[in-house]
């Protein structure tokens, strides 16, 4: 029963009404994995989907590396020039502008970490302003088990910086608390408590709790109240062993 409900939720996940979906967050928060999952689910629902890899910070473990999987799943990928070519030159291609003029596709932006990554977004601010309502949704992904984002103050500080540099306000939070393969459900629930405090103080809702499905099933069993916001993800970025 729970399994069935989760499966159903999975299908509902990418039904956000906005056309432009942004994933921002602190460095290493898990934005890329979530953006890939979100893009694949959106394409699965039959929508024309584009994923823009806007990460100019980190030349490794980026969504462009999952290009084959994404394209096989019907997602068009726009990458920075030279991404995944092992060249460390962070320049952004002109095709990014096309996603603002052709409004037939749903566009998912995988933004680089911290305020440095969000800076790349700032230059597109005028285009976000021109987009008709409901224009965009900006997620801020938080993993409370990451350094420099383990307290309310640290999370709020970085979120303010990201909003300042991207010139866009965050509209929704995502709890992606994890310790990789050592994650336990109590970590996620403690993370949820901390992010709830953040949510209250800035009046921004928590849209999703993300994690591998095995853990989220357990949470669904124990925490009735959280069921509606669980978003199980598959992991695509893996080391070679």
């Amino acid at each position: 029963m729970i399994l069935f409900m989760l499966e159903r939720m999975l299908r509902l996940v990418p039904m956000d009404p906005e056309r432009l979906i942004l994933f921002t967050g602190h460095f290493g928060s898990g934005k890329t994995e979530i953006a890939i999952n979100y893009a694949l689910k959106t394409a699965e629902s039959g929508k024309k989907t584009i994923l823009v890899d806007l990460d100019i910070v980190n030349p490794f473990f980026r969504s462009t590396e999952a290009k084959e999987i994404l394209e096989a799943g019907g997602v068009k990928v726009i990458s920075p020039n030279f991404a995944a070519t092992a060249l460390d030159i962070p320049s952004l291609p002109a095709d990014i502008y096309s996603v603002f003029t052709d409004r037939t596709s749903k566009v998912i932006f995988d933004v680089g970490g911290d305020e440095i990554g969000a800076r790349a977004l700032g230059q597109y601010f005028p285009y976000f302003k021109k987009e008709p309502e409901p224009s965009y949704r900006m997620y801020y992904v938080i993993n409370t088990k990451r350094p420099l984002s383990a307290s309310k103050e640290d999370i709020l500080f970085m979120m303010r910086e990201v909003q300042h540099k991207s010139r866009l306000p965050v509209t929704h939070l995502i709890n992606n608390t994890n310790l990789s393969y050592e994650t336990e459900i109590c970590d996620i629930i403690k993370g949820q408590a901390l992010i709830s405090q953040v949510s209250k103080s800035v009046e921004i809702p928590i849209a999703y709790i993300t994690g591998v499905k095995e853990l989220l099933y357990q949470i669904a069993e124990h925490e009735e109240g959280l069921k509606s916001i669980l978003f199980p993800i598959r992991l695509y970025m893996k080391p070679p062993w």
């Binding site: 490794f60 990451r146 393969y181 080391p239």
Partner: protein
């Protein structure tokens, strides 16, 4: 945590309060983290105008008795070699991190192990040695940073952490404070201000009189002997009845562990010797396993054209065939590639 962040946080927790560096991929998270965290704990972070300047700032801070660190990646480490030789000559402790990328020259930003020679055979000029530690998990990174600082202080010698782009960029859960700090004598040799209460401290690596320089080098080499005896470390895994022993360090050792698992399902017994200290090199451990009858051959696997392989071959000393398999330039060997190599050797050796 990311490997690079873990290095930085571990250094802070080990009491490092000074960091001087210059950016280069794939180690930029270390200075970025230090720039944010050091001011919070009363420390100082300076992005120097070059690697040469950064290592000389390290030289100065170490001379004043500070716990100090720098980090870079291959081409940047090449630039630091002159300073490293001065630091070793002046007998000063510091921690140098090299998150190795492909070379030679500007090379590429993908993980490599082709700086082994540079790290363990000198790199800079003169008769000196660097203690070189090679972690293979993020937890071990954290533990070895604490240990590296302690070894540096105990022997008054620079210590290097030799990682690679993979280890720097990947994420794993870690626990801090597992390795307890060592009890160390006060740094009476440091130029930390003279109040007439002790002999004047002088930091120097210049010896005009050749006899004085020879005496100085001989004194340093006594220390190196003690380091060899006390600090040589290696991990042996699954060696007890192995037919083929693989020698590998860092990221490559992790890949070999997957190979051992796959091989055992096929009934092939493979063992791993993983040097944790690349200098001092665990030659004795390798020799003692190579002597065993059940071992038919030793295979060194590296992300290079075969650098540690030379030290392994010396240690095996002709007792068994010593072979090499490697990928380089930022290519990471896949488990099945290594297994295929093992099978080839096995067919040859067991016939």
């Amino acid at each position: 945590m990311k490997g690079n962040e873990a290095i930085a946080e571990a250094a802070i927790q080990a009491g490092c309060r000074y960091f001087f560096g210059y950016p280069i991929t794939p180690q930029n998270e270390i200075p970025a983290y230090m720039a944010k965290r050091l001011p919070q704990v009363g420390g100082t972070f300076i992005q120097a105008e070059s690697e040469i300047s950064a290592i000389n700032m390290v030289y100065g801070a170490a001379g004043a008795g500070a716990r100090v660190m720098t980090s870079s990646s291959s081409p940047g480490i090449s630039l630091k070699q002159e300073g490293i030789s001065y630091i070793a000559g002046a007998e000063l402790p510091c921690l140098i991190v090299n998150i190795v990328r492909g070379g030679p020259g500007l090379g590429g930003i993908q993980p490599a192990q082709s700086d082994y020679f540079q790290a363990v055979k000198g790199g800079g000029h003169g008769d000196y040695r660097l203690v070189v530690l090679a972690p293979s998990t993020i937890q071990e990174v954290v533990d070895l940073v604490q240990e590296g600082f302690d070894i540096a202080d105990r022997y008054r010698n620079p210590v290097m952490i030799l990682g690679d782009g993979m280890l720097g960029q990947m994420m794993e859960p870690v626990e801090f404070g597992k390795r307890k700090p060592a009890e160390l004598p006060p740094k009476e040799w440091a130029t930390a201000g003279w109040k007439g209460d002790r002999p004047r401290a002088v930091i120097n690596s210049l010896f005009i009189d050749p006899q004085a320089l020879e005496d100085h080098v001989k004194k340093i080499y006594k220390k190196y002997k003690a380091i060899r005896i006390n600090e040589t470390r290696a991990e042996c895994f699954n060696c007890e009845d192995a037919e083929i022993i693989v020698a590998a360090y860092g990221t490559t050792a992790r890949i070999v562990r997957s190979v051992i698992e796959i091989a055992s399902k096929e009934g092939i017994k493979v063992g791993l010797i993983r040097p944790i200290t690349l200098w001092p090199f665990p030659a004795e451990t390798i020799r003692s396993w190579a002597e065993k009858d059940h071992v038919k051959a030793v295979l060194t696997v590296e992300m290079s054209m075969g650098q540690m392989a030379e030290d392994v071959t010396l240690a095996v000393g002709g007792r068994k065939p010593s072979l090499f398999y490697g990928r380089t330039g930022g290519m990471v060997p896949a488990p099945l590639e290594i297994l295929a190599e093992i099978k080839k050797i096995r067919e040859g050796a067991l016939k």
